[in-house]
Amino acid sequence: MELFSAKEVSKTYASQQALTQVSISVEEGTIFGLLGPNGAGKTTLIRIINQITAPDSGSIWLDGHLLKPSDISEIGYLPEERGLYKKMKVGEQALYLGQLKGLSRRDAMKELKVWFEKFEITAWWDKKVMELSKGMQQKVQFICTVLHKPRLLIFDEPFSGFDPINADLITQEILKLKKEGATIIFSTHNMDSVEQLCDHIALIDKSKKILDGPTSQIREQYKSNIYDISYRGDLNIETHEIARKYAILKHEENGNGNKLSIQYPEGSNSRELIKDLIDHVEIISFNEVIPSMNEVFIKVVKQNS
């Protein structure tokens, strides 16, 4: 079921087109990756979703109705440009932010206790924010974002400032939130985490959406007939007929195991490749190379320029 959608959203700042007819649809209980190079318009879209700014045209839908001001309590937003009041105490501040999201002071307190214990930061309650390290502040910030149990969560670069251990902690928490039914829009430049977390992605470049689909499907779509093969036996590849038919991307022969990275031309297929190889060598493994999101990203954005 669709929880959230943007329909043909456009936004222009004085001299700059920030979004052009962008539509996205996010299924309930999934993680949606919103990707794009710097300045593509992601932040503008996210701000529109948070009602920080309004679109010039187009509409935003949440759970079947047009987005309205009271929906703020249904949304949790961790902006890329984030911070806390430096001179305020951690607990007081978390309570304040929770209350601004519509929680009562008592409920906010109850929820905070649970989260502070989970993150093992109860001792920080009466510390001023300026006494905490950047990573500690990010933890507090993360808690403040999810505290009011929003149905839609928006994370913009949630891992920046975290060490690998804490980044993993946050990853696990995000997956847990998803499991509990939250819908998550996730914006990042870290493509490894996109592969790890996102069910669906959309790529925005130069104010337009240029790619949209399930993560696995997109990677499938951008594979380019490349196979990694390891084999036993000698393949004198330079003079071999295979080299004329296929593109050899990498070839290594040594005592431990022979490896070949090979691409078949358009019109051919993997069965034919196997058939051509099987006469000459003993195949140990035969894997299709699925491009990483990183590769897809670079490829698509370069094509678009």
Binding site: A14, I52, T53, Y77, P79, G83, L84, K101
Partner: protein
């Protein structure tokens, strides 16, 4: 609405709990009273040093006639001694040497020789004494020449002090004594208070906005509340901080005043006067009655000032002026990244405030003049200038017009600054130009 209350509460409590707020609030009345009382106190303390001044009077006009006062003694010395004193003043027992030349009556000049600059007090004593003696001599001469009996007394009787009573005529034809001086003092105090309030708390608003922008918390908050709510919450919260501070100052001020009264022997004023009455001869009795009359007069004059109106207007212009300017301060805070950039945008804000103070000075002297009138209508200067006029009495239609203009301008200004603010707080990086800020007004929210 609930959220804006939360914001007001946070803005208020975080500031009121600050050490700097508490210290300033407690210290200010102490400093102010020190500033008022210390000079007077010091005056009573100083100058109990006895100075003996050697006098060499070559003209022989003053010999034996310079009377000693409490701390200043005069000793006449012969010519020879004056030479030694002059050459070695340091080792002599004298503080200074007064030299009167033989031809004094024509030059009318004397010399005081001392190691250091003599205090102004001592100098004026010498001057007064010599002048007095000469005048007396001349008077005696005139009396002798003209032979008019009691001339001295007659001349003294020509000295007159004129007291101009100012009387305000009320609507019902009733006449009341009014006081221009009290009006001026009150106008000045109230105008200046508003000026301070706008500046101190206006910049506090700007600092607060900049803090939110610099710490990057602003985007977190405006995903929960509208930027306009955040801005107004801050402005209102800080207004309460200001009002709290003033209320505390008033309370502390009154406490200090009543405490300091108890310091003086004779306790209250009434008692003092009674004592004077009881002990005094006829002449002093008269003086004391005059003093009481004068005080009563001051009180009746203060009575002529419409205090409820004055205070109501003060609160109105106090709040109106603050709201108008603090919204502009908020817009400036939102547009810039760092304090250093504030200068360029602060100028158009500070200019009318400073202008108000300058106009206020002239409005106090001429509260009915065209300058006072027009500047008390213009909303950017009216809070300060109008306040200065009110103790003198302002026609109600002018007051109403001025207030209406202030409200309309305030609403318009908040609308404009709100638009600048909501765009500005999300703009990082380079300092915007005026033109860019103008464009922000057209963005859809």
């Amino acid at each position: 609405m609930h959220k804006i209350l939360l914001i007001i509460q946070r803005e208020y409590t975080t500031r009121v709990q600050k050490k700097s707020f508490i210290i300033l609030t407690l210290l200010m009345p102490v400093l102010m009273s020190a500033l008022m009382f210390l000079p007077g106190y010091l005056m009573t303390m100083d100058d109990n040093q006895t100075r003996t001044i050697a006098v060499y009077d070559a003209s022989a006009v003053f010999l034996g006639r310079l009377e000693n006062s409490e701390f200043t003694k005069f000793k006449f010395i012969p010519k020879e001694e004056s030479q030694t004193v002059k050459n070695d003043l340091k080792n002599s027992s004298y503080y200074a040497l007064l030299m009167i030349e033989p031809n004094f009556l024509t030059t009318k000049a004397v010399q005081v020789i001392s190691e250091r600059n003599i205090p102004w007090d001592v100098k004026s004593q010498i001057q007064d004494k010599i002048q007095g003696i000469i005048e007396k001599d001349k008077m005696a001469e005139v009396v002798k020449e003209t032979n008019i009996p009691d001339l001295e007394k007659k001349i003294a009787a020509t000295k007159t002090n004129i007291n101009v009573e100012t009387i305000k005529v009320g609507a019902g034809g009733e006449a009341k004594k009014s006081s221009t001086e009290i009006g001026m003092v009150l106008g000045y105090i109230f105008g200046f208070l508003i000026y301070m309030f706008i500046f101190i708390y206006g910049s506090m608003v700007m600092q607060g906005v900049m803090e939110e922008k610099q710490s990057r918390i602003v985007e977190v908050i405006i995903s929960s509340v509208r930027p306009f709510q955040l801005m107004m919450g801050k402005i209102v919260g800080i207004a309460f901080v200001g009002l709290t501070q003033f209320a505390l100052w008033v309370i502390l001020g009154i406490t200090i005043l009543s405490a300091s009264k108890n310091f003086y022997p004779g306790a209250s004023h009434a008692q003092q006067i009674q004592n004077v009455m009881a002990q005094s001869q006829d002449a002093t009795k008269q003086a004391a009655t005059a003093q009481i009359d004068k005080m009563q007069e001051v009180f009746t004059m203060i009575d002529t000032i419409n205090f409820p109106l004055l205070i109501a207007c003060f609160i109105f212009f106090f709040i109106g002026g603050y709201l108008l300017y603090s919204s502009m301060f908020a817009a400036v805070g939102s547009a810039i990244d760092a304090q250093e950039d504030a200068q360029q945008f602060m100028f158009p804000i500070t200019l009318p405030i400073i202008l108000s103070i300058i106009v206020m000075m002239s409005a106090i002297k001429n509260p009915e003049g065209p300058i006072a009138f027009w500047f008390s209508m213009i909303p950017f200067t009216s809070p300060i200038v109008m306040m200065a006029r009110i103790p003198f009495g302002v026609p109600y239609w002018q007051l109403a017009l001025s207030m209406a203009l202030l409200i309309v301008t305030f609403v318009g200004m908040v609308w404009v600054t709100g638009k600048i603010y909501r765009t500005g707080i999300l703009m990082y990086g380079k300092k915007p130009s005026w033109k860019e800020i103008g464009k922000w007004l057209t963005y859809k929210s």
